[in-house]
């Protein structure tokens, strides 16, 4: 039985790294030249991120 927290934390970070690698391998490559301004405040752009309070269809 695992007694230390080290392997658990390592496994969580490894899964995160795998998630990112699979995301990139799946073709989801970000484009920094189409990135939004640093701050949404003052950007003149509508907020468009996903949020848990969003209702279907947003």
């Amino acid at each position: 039985m695992i007694r230390s927290r080290r392997p658990v934390a390592g496994a969580v970070l490894a899964l995160l790294a795998l998630l990112l690698l699979l995301d990139i391998a799946g073709g989801a490559t970000p484009n920094p030249y189409r990135a939004p301004p640093l701050f949404a405040l003052g950007s003149g752009q509508a907020a468009s991120g996903g949020h848990c309070a969003a209702v279907p269809g947003r």
């Binding site: 658990v8 189409r34 949404a40 907020a47 468009s48 991120g49 996903g50 309070a53």
Partner: protein
Amino acid sequence: MTAWALDEARPRTGLSRATVVVLLTAAVGATALLAGARFGLLLLIGLGFGIALEGLRFGFAGPWRAQILRREPAGLVAQLLAIGLVALAAFPLIAQNPGELVGAHAPVGVAMIGGAFVFGLCMQLVLGCGSGTLVNAGSGNAVSALALPFFAVGSFAGAYHLDWWIGLGSAPTVTAAGLFGPTGGLIATLAALAAVALFVLARAAPENRRLPRRLWIAAAAVAGLALLNLVVAGQPWGVVYGLGLWAAKGAQALGADLSGSAFWSAPGAVERVRRSILTDVTSLTNIGIIAGAFAVAVWRGGLGADRARLPATAWIAAAVAGLLMGYSSRLAFGCNVGAYFSGISTGSLHGWAWFAAAFAGSMLGVRLRPKLGLEGRS
């Protein structure tokens, strides 16, 4: 004990503090270069959340448990303080910058209230809420590490079915600013927060009525980071959406057809599933929270600490609770972060409904936890 002796006593983690700082700095820089400065900054904000939550032991599930079982209100009052601090700035910012900045506003409904109740119950079983599960997993807590992937799958599934659940009955979205105007709404929100804080303080033993310095600092730090999240992302701090998005990406990669879901087939959701995780707001802050908590654990030498032995029923309960937390938090339009913290601090009535329902669920959860073997044994 000397500093040398402390270093000798610290369990080896395999990573030095300097290595962790370099790795995290490189991750933020790489994200900014690959995806854009905003996304690098959001990862940095997430790291800040993780460091503040783990480093200053600011949580949600634990303080509610302390209030329910021992009438120790310090942690709960610190939450209310942080929410009030965010509200002070968020109300005028959202009112003066409509569109650019949005609140965590959602309708109160049958499924919303039921979902919050189930979430509150389950977060007491695993002793970790939305943010707490991320923090605990990052610092090597095996129960949270097991619950986390189930949380993500549950969040995806809950969003998939959300339209049906809303159909059971839902009121229009109500906000404090909509009812009383931005200033009146802020005053009403602050008054309600103060009333709850005074109520729980009045019920506490006199020696438990003071907040330790750590919690004052934590409340200010978490509030500052939440406000930064709002002005950078244009939306309040959230957790659950990002976890569901990870599972949605996985489901689609495995050939699942998401067109049958009103939520996942909406144009915005389709675009987010297609785009990189490195451009999703809540994914980045979630990753930052996990990594920030990991950094604090390394800093403290806490990764070498023993963990409690648990029976098989406890591991099964943790997995089921993780799944239910993900599913129910989508029906509730958020978890302790997206609904309770961000909902109330941006004036949504559903945040208050979430608070009441989840607290009732927590009262049942603290009693179920030992029955399921989750208290551990030496």
